[in-house]
C-alpha cells in the first residue's frame, strides 16, 4: 500500500476552465486527476442531446481536454476520474478510445461506471411502490411523470474504486457524487471497507473542499486583495494518507492563495447541516474536522468523524416545467432608475393592451446597478445608468415569445436614454424543473467495464 497519494481536482463544473486539468497534469506531481462536469440540471440537457443523437449526451469538454493532455497523462501514468459520461458513458468511452487511436496512444485502459441512469425504469419503480416523492415539498412523482427529462441516482466511491481495481487509467462515470471522485482513489489505494465511516467521511470532506476547483485556492475569496496571480491560480491537490488524514495543497509556483481561511470558505459552500452531511457511503460530521496550516500553501485536515449512510440513494430528476425569457436594456441618466421603472411599466402595459398580461408571479424586473444582488441591503437611488432586466415565465411558449418582442421597441417609443439593445429579441427557453428524491439502494445496481485502446 502506498503511504500517500496526490489527487488533483481540476474541474468544478461543466464550463469550468480547461486550463485547470491541463495545468494540474503539467505543473507538478500527480497520481490522480478528479474532474466534475455535472450540475443538477446538466443531465436534462444531456438527455435532450442524446434523444437527437444516440452518440451524444456526455461532456464533450472532457474529450477536448484529453485531446490536449492524453499523451502527457499516459506518459506520467496519471489516472483520471471524471463524471463526464453524463447520460451516455458508453459514447464517451468510445470517443476517448477513438481519440487514443487517432493519437497513436496504445494500451490506454478506459473504464466506465454505469447504472446511475434510472430514467427508463421510472414507470416500473413507481409501479413497485417506490414513490420518489419530492424531498422539498412532498409532491408525488406522478405529478410530473409525463414530462420527466432525466433521472439519476448519486453513486458513491466504491463503484469508482471497482473500476480502478479493474485497471482503468481513465474512469468515466455518470452521476457519481462529487466527493466520490476523490473517495474512489482513496478506497482503491488504501483498501478502505464500507464500514470505515470515519475514513469515508474524511474523503467526503476532501471531496467537498476540492469539488469546485480553484474555489478553495483563492477563487471567490472574501479577502480577494490577498490573492496573488489569479491568472495562474493553483488548483487543489489533495495529499491523502491511509488513516484518512489529508493535506490540501497546490503545485509549487502556481498563483492563488491556500490558507486555513480559503479552505474553511470552501467547506461552508453549499453546506446544509454541517453535523450531518449525507452521502451514499457515509454521513460525515464536518464539525469534527481539525483544520491546521502545516506549512506554506499546506492545510491539513484530521480527526474527521463519520457514521453509517442511510439505506437510500439520493436521486436527482428533472422535468419540463414551462418556458422563460429574459432580456435587458441599458437606461442612461439623468433619472436612470425613474426612467427604467417607467420603461418596465410601458412593456407590461403594452403586453396587457395586446391581450398578453402576465401575473405577478410570472414577471421579473430588476434595475441592475441600483442594488439588485443586495436588495434591501445596499441600494443606490441615482446611479449614472442602470441595466433594466426583465423576464417572464409561464407554461405558454407563445406568450413568452410575445414578451420578447416588446422590449427593444422602447428605444424609439419610450423615455430618452434607452440603449444597449445588442443581442436582439429574447427568445423562450425551456425551464428545467429539479426534483430531488430518495430511492432504496437495492434498486440501483452499478456495473463497470474496461476497454483498451
Amino acid at each position: 500500500m502506498r503511504d500517500k497519494i496526490q489527487i488533483g481536482y481540476g474541474q468544478g463544473f461543466w464550463g469550468d476552465s480547461i486550463l485547470g486539468p491541463i495545468r494540474l497534469v503539467d505543473e507538478g506531481p500527480l497520481d490522480y486527476l478528479a474532474l466534475d462536469y455535472l450540475a443538477e440540471v446538466t443531465m436534462s440537457i444531456m438527455q435532450k442531446l442524446k434523444s437527437r443523437n444516440p452518440d451524444a449526451g456526455y461532456a464533450t469538454d472532457f474529450v477536448r481536454m484529453l485531446d490536449r493532455t492524453m499523451e502527457q497523462i499516459a506518459d506520467k501514468g496519471v489516472r483520471v476520474i471524471a463524471n463526464a459520461g453524463g447520460v451516455n458513458p458508453d459514447a464517451c468511452l468510445n470517443a476517448v478510445l477513438e481519440l487514443a487511436r487517432k493519437k497513436g496512444v496504445k494500451g490506454l485502459k478506459v473504464g466506465i461506471v454505469e447504472g446511475d441512469d434510472i430514467l427508463a425504469r421510472v414507470p416500473e419503480l413507481l409501479a413497485a411502490g417506490h414513490d420518489m416523492k419530492n424531498m422539498d415539498d412532498g409532491r408525488p412523482l406522478t405529478d410530473v411523470q409525463d414530462t420527466l427529462l432525466s433521472a439519476n441516482a448519486y453513486i458513491g466511491a466504491f463503484s469508482v474504486a471497482e473500476c480502478l481495481a479493474k485497471g482503468a487509467q481513465i474512469v468515466i462515470c455518470g452521476r457519481v457524487t462529487d466527493p466520490a471522485l476523490v473517495g474512489g482513489p482513496m478506497v482503491h489505494e488504501f483498501g478502505w471497507q464500507p464500514t470505515d465511516y470515519d475514513k469515508l467521511a474524511a474523503s467526503t470532506v476532501a471531496g467537498h473542499i476540492g469539488e469546485c476547483g480553484a474555489q478553495c485556492t483563492g477563487g471567490n475569496y472574501t479577502r480577494w486583495r490577498d490573492v496573488e496571480d489569479f491568472v495562474r491560480i493553483g488548483y487543489p491537490v489533495i495529499e491523502a494518507t491511509p488513516d484518512g488524514t489529508f493535506t490540501v495543497t497546490k503545485h509549487e509556483g502556481t498563483g492563488g492563495l491556500l490558507t486555513r481561511d480559503t479552505v474553511v470558505s470552501q467547506l461552508l459552500y453549499e453546506m446544509g447541516d454541517p453535523n450531518n452531511y449525507l452521502g451514499p457511503d457515509c454521513a460525515a460530521d464536518f464539525t469534527s474536522a481539525k483544520i491546521e496550516e502545516v506549512g506554506p500553501s499546506r492545510v491539513q485536515i484530521s480527526g474527521v468523524k463519520g457514521g453509517p449512510p442511510t439505506d437510500t440513494y439520493k436521486v436527482s430528476l428533472s422535468y419540463q416545467n414551462g418556458y422563460k425569457a429574459t432580456g435587458q436594456l441599458t437606461i442612461a441618466g439623468p433619472d436612470a432608475v425613474e426612467k427604467a421603472k417607467l420603461c418596465a411599466d410601458i412593456v407590461w402595459g403594452r403586453l396587457a393592451f395586446d391581450g398578453c398580461a402576465f401575473a405577478e408571479d410570472e414577471k421579473m424586473v430588476e434595475f441592475v446597478g441600483a442594488g439588485v444582488t443586495h436588495a434591501g441591503i445596499l441600494e443606490s437611488n441615482d446611479p449614472p445608468e442602470v441595466v433594466l432586466r426583465m423576464g417572464v415565465k409561464c407554461a405558454d411558449k407563445a406568450r413568452v415569445n410575445r414578451f420578447g418582442s416588446e422590449l427593444v421597441p422602447l428605444v424609439t417609443s419610450g423615455p430618452p436614454g434607452v440603449t444597449g439593445f445588442a443581442g436582439g429579441r429574447p427568445k423562450a427557453t425551456d425551464i428545467v424543473g429539479y426534483w430531488p428524491a430518495l430511492l432504496d439502494k437495492d434498486q440501483v445496481k452499478t456495473r463497470v467495464r474496461v476497454e483498451e485502446s
Binding site: 440540471v41 472574501t222 461552508l268 422563460k324 421579473m364 430588476e366 434591501g376 428545467v432 424543473g433 430531488p436
Partner: protein
Amino acid sequence: MAKVKLKEFAMARSGDKGDGSNVGVFVTNAADYEVIKRELTVDRVKQHFHDICFGEVVRYEAPNMLALNFLLRDSLGGGGSESLKTDAQGKVHGLGLLEIEIER
C-alpha cells in the same frame, strides 16, 4: 462595544440549496466567534435579508471553523434553472450578510 460592519472582521461564502441559499460566515478568533454567535441571530439575519429571503432562516454552528451556517429558504425566486433573477444561485448572499452592522 462599538457598532461595526461584519465585513471588517469576518468572511463568508454562499451558494444554492434548492429554492434557497446557504450563507456560511466565519471569523478568525474565539472572541469574535462569541460576537457573531450573539449578534447573528436567526431573527436578525431574516430581517437583514427582508427583500431577498421570503422563507424560514435556519442557523447551524460549526465551532471547529469558527463558523455559522445559515439556510435562507425561498430566497432565489424559484431556484436553480427556474429563477429569473440575476443571482439565481445566491452566489453573493454571503457578501450581502457581511454588510450587516453589529455590536462588537
